[in-house]
């Protein structure tokens, strides 16, 4: 029933969307979907999308939004004191859910693909009735023109970008800058909290925070270096300043 269509073959990407890439990274490490595994693959995810000068058209925003959530998960694993907002923890939960859902559907898609190789059930041909001409009064020059116009209007003009995603962050670099600022402010906040706490305990906690945060910065830098833009380095310097704050004591 389907007719052959000959079209030049398009070389496809190894991964089509952000969920697919993320799932691939997790499955490659034979991990289950959890915040731990998501934190573990964060760096590689960012490296992979940074290496792609051209992400699939229309999906860039989705890739970046997901990277932001991953960075947040990673940040929290490095900075256990990082308090998440309601929206942030919802984003993380949603990502884990979407990934698990996608994993199931992707496996099911494989079964569907296998089923297409099984014998198809073919159409019958009804015994042909005698040829005739049965006009219908609704067919007029005007109604045909109207139908043609419907076809013109209904033709997809361009690929519609997902509205929600477009509103979100546009570039990886910008997103990382925002994340760095977010984590840095969380750090300052927790430093203030600690300052008011028991001296000994806070000294210990501060020590841990500094180590964690340096590790995090390293990660953020990895993501930014590829962009090699001076302005982003200045962001890091700014973050380093905040790291140096505890040493004033």
């Amino acid at each position: 029933m389907w007719e052959m269509q000959t079209r030049p073959h398009v070389k496809t990407e190894v991964f089509e969307g952000p969920l697919e890439l993320l799932l691939e990274l997790i499955e490659k490490r034979k991990l289950h979907i959890s915040d731990v595994s998501l934190a573990a693959v964060c760096d590689e995810y960012i490296a992979r999308i940074s290496a792609h000068t051209e992400l699939p058209v229309g999906e860039t925003a989705e890739f970046v939004t997901l990277a932001a959530t991953l960075l947040l998960i990673k940040s929290r694993s490095l900075l256990p004191t990082l308090a998440l907002s309601e929206e942030e923890s919802r984003d993380i939960k949603e990502l884990e859910y979407r990934l698990a859902l996608y994993q199931l559907i992707k496996d099911a898609a494989r079964s569907v693909g296998e089923a297409t190789k099984s014998p198809a059930l073919y159409e019958g041909s009804a015994p042909a009735p005698e040829p005739m001409f049965l006009f219908d009064a609704s067919i007029t020059k005007e109604s045909l023109l109207g139908a043609a116009q419907t076809l013109i209007v209904g033709f997809p003009k361009s690929l519609v970008l997902p509205k929600v995603a477009v509103k979100k962050i546009v570039s990886i670099e910008e997103m990382i800058t925002q994340m760095a600022a977010r984590v840095s402010s969380a750090f300052r906040l927790s430093f203030k909290e600690f300052a008011g706490m028991n001296k000994q305990a806070s000294a210990h906690a501060r020590h841990e925070i500094i180590i964690s945060f340096l590790a995090l910065l390293e990660l953020v830098k990895q993501g930014i270096i590829k962009a090699n833009q001076g302005e982003h380095f200045s962001d890091i310097v700014l973050e380093s300043d905040s790291v140096s704050v505890p040493s004033y004591e």
Binding site: V57, Y122, S125, F133, F135, L145, G146, A147, L151
Partner: protein
Amino acid sequence: MNENALAIQIEGLLFSLGRPLTRAELCKAMGAELDMVEVALATLRARTRGGIVLVDDGKVVELRTAPAAAELVEKIRKEEYSRDIGKAGLEALAAVIYRGPLSRSEIDFIRGVNSSQTLRTLLMRGLVRKISNPKDERSFLYEPTTELLAELGVAHKDELPDYVSVQEKLRTLETAYRAQELLVPTEEPA
């Protein structure tokens, strides 16, 4: 192959082709001897309790609607024919008239939905007809019948209102969409 398996295959083949087959054709298709085919045909003739029966004139065999269902079929056919061709019918007809002759998959492409049922109705009502596709002999193209054009009061389809401009617009949109499809690396070619 036993005669039951043979009967299944014969039934499937007759159903799919929708035309009478000679015993010689059956033997050839099955790669079976005539006596085996006769046994299988006897099995099929014995099945008289369904809505489909095997009609056998001794030379050719064919599947037909059972007499028990004939009256109903007649009634429903009449109802279908007296009905308007509907929005889908008008759209497919417009595609065929303004952009035709077109293959079924091209009509599907312009409408963005599968048109096989709609085209079947248009064919049965004699509003469009199939012509062979010069580019691919396995497939057909659809074009409006002369009766349809006569009924619309035009000698040729280009006398229809806005014929050239509508055709041009559709062509531009199709070309643009196909070009875009090629740019998007996310989709396997259909």
